[in-house]
Assembly symmetry: none
Homo-oligomer: 242 residues x 2
């Protein structure tokens, strides 16, 4: 018997992605790692560096999903407002915390960098949060309730995810396999719809492509039951021999 | 005196992005093009191929923003449920529409492909919508109210965006026109490069397609000078007679 996996949402905070200047990398990374961990990413939102937008998104997502992962807005500059917004969403106070300040101070002492007011902002942590380790540049992320707040810089984000994931309870990792069918989706739809009806425990996706003179679709089969995934793939191979 | 730019949100529909299998490309493309057009992209949401999730997202976003652009879920397979969800979000009926069916039929007749039930699903359009041209593979998108519904395949999404954008009122109005050239991009590149050099005030985009044995490119010309756009299009037509 299978159990439903924990659900998750991601909130990406950053004007630069909405303006098209930067292409987000963290969403794709987190999506892959959560799938491997058996945590079911259901929704992603991208909002700008705007306090009401962030507070509203966090407030909604944390009630709807088992986990919420955020990316961006925890640096030292005036537009890094994520920690304050998270505190507001939870209705708790926020201030410089001694353990976070000590982590930063040790890092700057080692580097011969001076602590200043801007850097100290990165030690501001909402009351009741636990820190997420930042092995890259020291300034920590944090978890409060079911919300995990991480940096936007991809190398830091990824290091934080790797530290955080083992502390979360995942579900059954999904088995996923795919077949490339060199036919139009209009020809694939009928036999595929038949399979969908006969394998209710699996999910089927059809993703058309057109590349270098070849067209067809990648049909992906996913589920917790690896034998059923293999059986469905076998039927598709038989229906669409190469 | 300046006026605030129109606001926009994007809704990306697709399990394959949330599972980490595919990295979204349409968001980054739309973000850049909206910025150029003077339309202010404020929020992006990515949801799975799940009816309640899509209906709720569309219902919320269309009330909060001047424009909503969607990507994905309008093909012929069982997981293509976007059109039905949009109809539900607007509370209107949906069915096969004659003009959409005629577009598809003409496309399949030309390609020697048979119309079947799956392909006919792509002619299902919510009541009151206007069609968005699909120069790549015929199956149209549509606009209903302030929601613009487009395909997920990046070449098709981009061509639809290029057809749609000139019809919207942005902060920086541009004239845009396009020509469909049934030649490989390798043949188009030389004459097109010459045009690009001689019309420095215009921007040229080439969007290749390959579908059902027909291949070529949609070449889009954009600029604030409508006469120059028309002149450049005329030169392209002369260089590549049908």
């Amino acid at each position: 018997m299978t159990h439903p996996n924990p659900t998750a949402a991601m909130l990406v905070i950053g004007d630069e992605i909405l303006s098209g200047r930067t292409r987000d990398a963290n969403m794709h990374y987190l999506a892959g790692r959560l799938t491997e961990a058996g945590i079911d990413l259901r929704e992603v939102r991208i909002v700008s560096d705007d306090r009401p937008a962030i507070v509203e998104a966090v407030s909604g997502l944390r009630r709807a999903y088992a986990h919420v992962f955020t990316s961006g807005g925890i640096g030292p500059t005036h537009d890094d407002i994520t920690a304050d917004c998270i505190a507001a969403a939870f209705g708790v106070a926020i201030g410089v915390r001694d353990d976070a300040r000590a982590i930063l101070q040790a890092h700057y002492d080692k580097a011969g960098t001076e602590m200043n007011a801007a850097r100290l902002r990165m030690a501001r942590i909402p009351d009741g949060a636990t820190l997420i380790d930042n092995p890259v540049s020291a300034a920590p992320g944090f978890t409060i309730g079911n919300v995990h707040v991480m940096a936007g810089v991809p190398t830091i984000f990824q290091a934080m995810v790797e530290g955080l994931l083992p502390t979360l309870t995942g579900g059954t990792p999904l088995t996923s396999d795919a077949i490339r069918i060199l036919r139009g989706e209009g020809d694939i739809a009928g036999p595929l719809g038949d399979l969908v009806a006969r394998y209710p425990g699996l999910s089927f996706g059809s993703y058309p492509f057109q590349k270098d003179g070849v067209f067809g679709a990648q049909v992906v089969v996913r589920g917790q039951d690896a034998d059923a995934v293999a059986a469905a793939l076998g039927e598709l191979r038989a229906a669409f021999p190469e």
